[in-house]
């Protein structure tokens, strides 16, 4: 029971931290809006007619998935910085299990990603991305799955790093290439073989594809894999990430 209370407390803290940090709210919302508003709109007006699919919708679904996935992944990785600074020192000496710390963090960061999901959705509506109510309802569980999946990836990365400096250093290698390998803005159907391999390794790809499975259901054939395939891959990777990551994190935590 006290472990459940601990998980809830950690999640609660993350949400409060977001709500009281105005600078972070602005930066969390600004990037997706720039990507969709400027990149999506300009791609559509420039190349939309030649590609046959609406590039604003394409970028919108990609950025929606990427934002949620990356928000929880980076949120979990921020445990590193916390550990060096504030309340987390306190969390690490409290009698709760290390697993509760991980689950509390993933839950908290998923809650933090949710307002971003709502904001991007609202922005999409303003830009004229078509939605039905059923579609919005269907996107919610997809967003949750993507959030938790991103959190598990964060745990895996976290378990391999020693401090925030390292996290900042590897960010351009771990996150940035995935923007393009996951096909957020660009098509990844006909990649050269070596990029195709890298793309299939990039976990963000499955998050983006899952979002498009749900958004384009019954419409144009934009997603690469179907929904069950993406869910299966995400399920397996989630388990591997969380088991390997948590075990590594708990071990690394004490054997410095």
């Amino acid at each position: 029971m006290s472990e459940v209370a601990a998980v809830l407390t950690l999640a609660h803290r993350d949400l409060i931290k977001l709500l009281r940090d105005r600078a972070r709210i602005v930066s969390d919302f600004a990037f997706p809006l720039i990507f969709i508003g400027i990149l999506g709109t300009s791609l559509q007006s420039g190349f939309g007619s030649t590609t046959g699919i609406n590039l604003l919708h394409f970028v919108f679904t990609g950025v929606l998935a990427q934002t949620i996935w990356q928000s929880t992944a980076l949120g979990v990785i921020s445990l590193l910085m916390d550990r060096e600074q504030d309340f987390s020192q306190e969390i690490f000496v409290s009698p709760i299990s290390r697993y509760s710390i991980i689950f509390g963090k993933i839950l908290g960061e998923s809650l933090v990603a949710f307002p971003q999901f709502i904001a991007i959705l609202a922005f999409g509506l303003i830009l004229g991305v078509p939605f039905t109510l059923e579609k919005i309802v269907a996107l919610i569980p997809a967003a949750l799955i993507i959030a938790v999946y991103g959190g598990a990836f964060g745990v895996l990365v976290l378990s391999r790093l020693e401090n925030q400096r390292q996290a900042n250093q590897i960010f351009p290698f771990v996150m940035l290439p995935q923007f393009f390998l996951a096909g957020i803005f660009n098509p990844i159907q006909n990649l050269p073989w070596f990029l195709d391999i890298l793309s299939k390794i990039a976990p963000m790809r499955y998050a983006v594809d899952l979002m498009r499975d749900v958004y384009y259901a019954g419409g144009p054939n934009v997603p690469i894999f179907d929904l069950p395939t993406n869910l299966a891959i995400i399920g397996v990777e989630f388990l591997v990430f969380i088991v390997v990551g948590t075990a590594g994190f708990v071990r690394a935590e004490r054997n410095r």
Binding site: A5, H12, R20, D86, F87, Q89, P95, E253
Partner: protein
């Protein structure tokens, strides 16, 4: 209460042990001070004892619980005030305390202060009044001064009534008045709760109040005992004397039964109260008379300096 046996820690890629085979005991209710210069291994030792770092070898236990095998039991009975502030600046003072209390399983989770059990609210108010910060409890942490933040950390660390309270250089970065009030509060708390206090510091004057002082440097114990014992160990008072006729002086010192060493100049070991009488008794014309009477502070610096060389 605390038992260390050959405790050793070597960090990865380090070429020497940060903590090097340390053994000692701390009794229940004792005020124990671990003293040493920066980098002596104090924080490493506290991290090991509070179970956030594994020792490389050796064992340690707190209240009979092994710090490695029963880490969770140890965490339940210790409180810690970290060297670097561990408060969440985005939360209010009360939220910082509440989250701590829930993490320690003291109270069930509730999203707001009003929904927390009455017992919790009483406990927080009680501790906060004791430390004089009751009026500021609902204010954001950011508005607190350094001294108030430290006090709040103490309130928080006492919520689960720890048997041992670890304080890792708690006054670092505080001005002199804040430092003084902090010590007064800690003394009051210790008197009222009987908590064992384990303090690390590099300020000698903070350790002088302790029941036991342990001085470490480069991971090794340099001196251990009551402040008086440390003082007599460390502080060597002597008078340095010399004469042209050293042979005569040596004979005279021996006749007067004055303990001395050196082949000239001679170190005559007398404490400050007997210096005058000793000098008066010497008939040999002296060419050098120099008294050596270091304070505890000088002695500490001297011993720490000697080890580092």
């Amino acid at each position: 209460m605390i038992h260390l046996d050959g405790l050793t820690k070597r960090y990865k890629k380090a070429d020497r042990n940060a903590v090097d085979g340390i053994s000692f005991d701390v009794r229940a209710g004792e005020f124990f001070a671990l003293l040493g210069p920066n980098g002596a291994g104090k924080t490493t030792m506290i991290s090991i004892l509070t179970t956030t770092l594994s020792p490389t070898s050796g064992t340690a236990s707190i209240d009979g619980h092994d710090i490695v095998r029963e880490a969770s039991a140890v965490r339940r009975i210790v409180g810690i005030i970290f060297q670097r502030p561990s408060l969440d600046m985005n939360l209010t003072a009360e939220e910082n305390v509440r989250f701590h209390a829930i993490l320690y399983g003291l109270y069930p989770y509730a999203p707001t202060y009003g929904l927390m059990p009455a017992a919790y609210r009483e406990q927080v108010q009680g501790l906060a009044s004791l430390l004089g910060i009751a009026a500021e409890l609902q204010k954001p942490m950011r508005t607190f001064s350094g001294g108030m933040r430290r006090k709040l950390e103490i309130v928080r660390s006492l919520m689960h009534r720890p048997k041992v309270l670890f304080l890792d250089e708690p006054t670092a970065g505080l001005d002199v008045p804040s430092r003084r009030t902090l010590w007064e509060y800690l003394t009051t708390i210790r008197r009222e709760s009987g908590t064992t206090v384990f303090l690390t510091t590099h300020y000698l004057e903070e350790a002088e109040e302790a029941d036991t002082i342990c001085i470490i440097d480069q991971g090794k114990v340099v001196s251990f005992g009551t402040p008086d014992r440390i003082k007599s160990d460390l502080v060597q008072e002597y008078v340095l004397v010399d004469a042209e006729d050293r042979g005569r002086l040596r004979e005279e010192l021996a006749r007067l039964e004055l303990r001395s060493d050196g082949g000239g100049p001679f170190r005559v070991h007398v404490d400050s109260r007997h210096t005058h009488a000793a000098l008066k008794a010497i008939d040999t014309p002296l060419t050098i008379v120099r008294t050596h009477m270091p304070s505890l502070e000088d002695a500490y610096l001297e011993i720490v300096g000697k080890v580092s060389e």
